[in-house]
């Protein structure tokens, strides 16, 4: 028999599907090699060619390994692993001879699916994983039953998956987790996370205005609803100005500060990884979560950079007065040069008004009435004097321009002021009852020191564009960009779209919270909730529970299966089989029909002949009786007799 290449379209399709997301991740030559190899095997298969000789495959394998060593430069990380696995899968179809080769291909495909999860664990990837598993299993089942119908196989796979799912879930919950991994490999650093930076320069925030990426989610305790105008999320306080950029100043940590708060707002923040240490507190936080630090400028920061999703509880005071004064001298400092015109303007305000409050009002009305515009794409400011250029020439800007200019003016007028960077607003998700704050909600505003009032939040952007605060940056952006949903006829579509979006986010949140964040700590808490100790006689409870689940599941499955078969079998035959079990010491050696065999037994064992005779007569009558009440009566009698029949003694 001529050995032809035993690869087929299904396997190649499967490989293409499970490899697809890696195309951009592996070096280009590997992708190209895979494509050529698979196309080649398809052509070879169509032409009924033989598999490549072993020596050629080995040569190719050596070549690929050398190429990989060159490409990955000896690093043995995730990328190298994926690359080598892809190369293996590229070569395998070329030498597929037997079913076993194909099974190996299928197993490698399962492994390749796992590697996608190392890059992302989103719901989308979970769905992709499921599709991949179904496809791979389809190919696997096809290897074992090549002539069966595809529909039947598909149904079988779905049944298997549906039955495996509860077991997988139980194992997922109970299988012991080790915190930190085996060899201390941490998650690859999240790179390219867009978000705030720790300084403020023109364009720093407006670049985020269109980013739908989620910064964090908040759920308020006691279903508290905070008005949108108060949703100022304080992240950074910038107090040093170099003429162009605002930067963080020195701020001591708060120690033993426990203010009386009349109406505290308690909430939990789930922050996406930002690769920065800061945390998001509603203006102003009064109590930092455990291990986090509350600074004197009332911002919260984590002890280390946040490179994975974290949840933390916070308490804030919304309507209190912030009298944590800090170093006021630094708060009026200005660079020696630049903004001369602005300084002049501030001086005239200082002379014309008495009291800081009046100066603030004057400044705000200056912005409101001075033909200022709120814009996502303001023109660039002159490098040598951006403050004056903005205030007196361009008059178009985003929140950072206004916050920066306002703070500058306040300091020039001798009022201590600083810039606060954070987020404003957020979108309430009614499905999960939580607030979503996106990067597009990033915002900057000012704080001025007004003696008795303490640090007072002044948002000059609100003076220019109240819409920004009332409806969020999205509304402004949409007006400016002219999104397709703006046409009145699209109202319904927009409504539906919003619902889909919010449901999707709720699902994602659930996924993040209950699947991806399930950790050793949570597992311990769960076990504790059920009143279980972590270990039992030195064996992890999780292992024991997993084992118990597997065994219990197996036993239940087995019994269920045995039952369904028994109920579909002829009860009279089953009864007779049971009878024969009891007469094993007098086996039916000649293979007589049941009635004759029982008659023979009656002859051979006279002392039990009456008993056997009754069973025989019932058996015969059941065999010829149509079903009905009498049949049922006889059947019951027959079963009862057989059940109570004592085993025959040995000869």
């Amino acid at each position: 028999m001529k050995k032809i290449l035993q690869v087929d379209e299904q396997i190649l399709l499967l490989l293409a599907v499970v490899f697809a997301p890696h195309v951009v991740r592996v070096p280009a030559w590997i992708s190209v090699f895979c494509a050529f190899s698979w196309a080649g095997s398809l052509i070879m298969h169509r032409r009924h060619a033989r598999p490549l000789p072993r020596t050629v495959v080995i040569m190719l394998a050596i070549g690929c390994t050398l190429g990989a060593m060159f490409s990955f430069a000896g690093s043995l990380g995730r990328e190298a692993g994926v690359g080598l696995l892809s190369l293996m899968l590229a070569l395998k179809p070329l030498e597929t001879r037997t079913d076993r080769d194909r099974m190996v291909t299928v197993f490698l495909a399962y492994f390749l699916i796992l590697t996608h999860l190392l890059y992302s664990q989103s719901l989308f990837i979970a769905g992709y994983m499921l599709v991949g598993v179904v496809l791979t299993a389809m190919v696997q089942i096809r290897i074992n039953d090549p002539t069966g119908r595809v529909g039947r196989h598909c149904r079988k796979i779905c049944t298997l998956l549906a039955q495996a799912a509860p077991l997988a879930l139980v194992l997922f919950v109970f299988f012991p987790r080790i915190s930190g991994g085996l060899w201390g490999l941490s998650d690859p650093k999240t790179t390219g996370v867009s978000g705030l930076s720790n300084s403020l320069s023109p364009g720093g925030i407006s670049s985020l205005a269109l980013s739908r990426a989620i910064a964090f989610r908040v759920s308020f305790e006691e279903d508290r609803i905070v008005p949108r105008q108060s949703l100022y999320w304080r992240v950074l306080v910038l107090s040093r100005f170099d003429g162009r950029q605002w930067m963080q100043g020195e701020a001591a940590d708060m120690t033993e500060w426990d203010p009386e708060v009349a109406n505290p707002v308690r909430y939990t923040v789930t922050a996406e990884p930002s690769n920065q240490p800061w945390m998001y507190g509603l203006d102003f936080p009064v109590k930092a979560p455990p291990a986090a630090i509350l600074g004197q400028n009332l911002t919260v920061r984590a002890p280390a950079r946040i490179d994975k999703r974290v949840r933390y509880p916070l308490v804030s005071c919304l309507d209190g007065k912030n009298r944590v004064v800090g170093n006021l001298k630094d708060m009026v400092a200005l660079p020696p040069v630049g903004g001369e015109e602005a300084r002049e303007l501030a001086k005239t305000w200082r002379n014309a008004h008495d009291g800081d409050r009046a100066i603030v009002t004057a400044a705000l009305s200056y912005f409101r009435d001075g033909d200022f515009h709120y814009s996502l794409n303001p023109p660039l400011l002159k490098m040598n004097d951006p403050v004056d250029d903005f205030l007196f020439n361009v008059r178009k800007g985003y929140c950072e321009h206004y916050a920066s200019a306002f703070t500058f003016l306040m300091r020039a007028a001798g009022i201590p002021a600083r810039v606060v960077v954070g987020y404003q607003g957020g979108e309430m998700n009614p499905v999960g009852e939580y607030l979503i704050v996106r990067q597009s909600d990033a915002h900057a505003w000012s704080e001025v020191w007004l003696g008795d009032e303490g640090w007072t939040r002044i948002d000059p952007t609100a003076a220019v564009s109240p819409l920004r605060i009332d409806q969020g940056a999205g509304a402004v952006a949409a007006r400016e960009v002219g999104g397709i949903f703006e046409a009145p006829a699209m109202g319904a579509v927009r409504w539906v779209w919003n619902h889909v979006r919010l449901n999707w986010d709720a699902l994602n949140t659930f996924w993040n919270e209950w699947v991806l964040d399930y950790s050793a700590r949570r597992q311990d808490r769960l076990l504790a909730f059920f009143g279980l100790a972590r270990t039992w006689k030195g064996i992890s409870t999780g292992i024991l529970l997993s084992l118990a689940a597997v065994l219990g599941f197996g036993a239940a499955f087995f019994l269920f299966q045995a039952r369904t078969i028994r109920t579909r079998q002829d009860p009279v035959t089953l009864g007779y089989q049971r009878f024969v079990q009891q007469t094993r010491s007098w086996p039916n050696e000649e293979g007589l029909p049941p009635a004759s065999y029982m008659s023979l037994l009656m002859d051979k064992i006279p002392e039990r002949s009456e008993e056997i005779g009754t069973i025989r007569d019932l058996y015969v009558s059941l065999r010829y009786r149509p079903s009905g009440p009498e049949y049922d009566r006889d059947l019951r009698a027959f079963r009862e007799r057989v059940r109570t029949f004592k085993r025959l003694k040995k000869r």
Binding site: F107, L114, G181, Y518
Partner: protein, 325 residues
């Protein structure tokens, strides 16, 4: 599928069953295949990967695949459980040729089954077995071939029913050994000359016990039976007032073949093989024949049942000692 040695010894001791046989947990064995072991290694690798990267979705994938593998044990088992073997009929078998059995299977449960039936021994080429699909509740007859057996009376070969469906990770199998025997006739010799005998040495036989109704020789008069041809009616004799009488003729009175042990030469098996060929040739030619073998003399006859009787004699000749000596 060959069972491991300890199981084979166990099977040999087990009493043969009577049909119908329903496969249940007492008959079905299940062990992982080589692929199944490789799959276990794969799961281990996936688990280590997931632990190492603390990848919860990876855990989910691992456990899902493990669950599927685990569940497939029951599906593979369920592929056999509740399968009824309602009949096994051997085809006529001659020594040296492949043995063929017809097996009737009926499904008692509600699953789709993909099965593989085979007979023991030989390479896959010698007994390729038979792949079959059985739909829920249906029954099907399949013909399976097995390696040839020596002449003699043998217990029916053990039918092995196995399956690796659906995932190929586990192999479930059951051996069905039934209580019936099958005869393996001698291998027919290539060329034989048929010796036509006028006399068989047995006078009663020569007197025509084995004659067939025909048209050659007059035998006797008998009562008319409606349907007798008119030209056969003995009008002269009928006129004597006895009612209509019919003349009966017989044919081939003395043209029968004697197939005798003494007439062939060689070892026992060679002789049997020649005798077998002669029986087949005589039957093919349509000549009545009789067989004399080791003190047994058959009547003169022809037709399938006579042929079968003669062949059975040949198969059983000193077969109690184990067939081939």
């Amino acid at each position: 599928m060959k069972s491991p040695p300890f199981l084979r010894r166990f099977f040999a001791k087990r009493a043969r069953a009577q049909l119908p046989v329903v496969l249940d947990r007492k008959r079905i064995f299940i062990l992982p295949t080589k692929s199944g072991l490789v799959f276990a290694l794969l799961l281990l690798a996936l688990l280590i990967g997931s632990i190492n990267y603390t990848n919860n979705l990876g855990f989910l994938l691992t456990f899902l695949l493990a669950g599927m593998g685990f569940v497939s044990i029951f599906h593979t088992y369920g592929n056999l459980a509740g399968l009824e073997i309602s009949g096994i009929w051997p085809e006529e078998a001659f020594a040296g040729n492949q043995v063929a059995l017809t097996v009737q299977c009926r499904s008692l449960s509600r699953v789709y089954r993909a099965l593989h039936l085979s007979l023991p021994g030989g390479s896959p080429d010698a007994s390729p077995g038979f792949r079959m699909h059985l739909l829920p509740g249906s029954s099907q007859r399949v013909r399976i071939l097995g390696p040839g057996m020596p002449r003699g009376i043998h217990p029916l070969p053990v039918v092995t029913i196995q399956t690796i469906y659906p995932m190929g990770l586990f192999r479930a199998w059951a051996h069905v050994a039934v209580h019936d025997d099958m005869a393996v006739f001698p291998r027919p010799a290539d060329a034989v000359s048929l010796i036509c005998r006028e006399k068989s040495g047995d006078s009663s036989r020569d007197e025509g016990r084995g004659r067939q109704p025909g048209s050659d020789d007059f035998k006797e008069l008998r009562g008319y039976v409606p349907g007798d041809p008119l030209q056969r009616i003995a009008w002269k004799a009928s006129s004597r007032g006895t009612g209509l009488l019919t003349k009966e003729f017989v044919t081939g009175t003395r043209r029968h073949l004697g197939i005798r042990w003494e007439d062939v030469t060689g070892s026992d098996e060679e002789r049997l093989s020649r005798l077998c060929a002669m029986v087949l040739a005589a039957e093919k030619r349509g000549v009545p024949y009789w067989l004399e073998l080791g003190g047994y003399v058959s009547p003169v006859d022809k037709g399938p049942s006579h042929r079968h009787r003669c062949l059975m004699r040949l198969a059983a000749y000193e077969a109690h000692a184990g067939g081939e000596k």
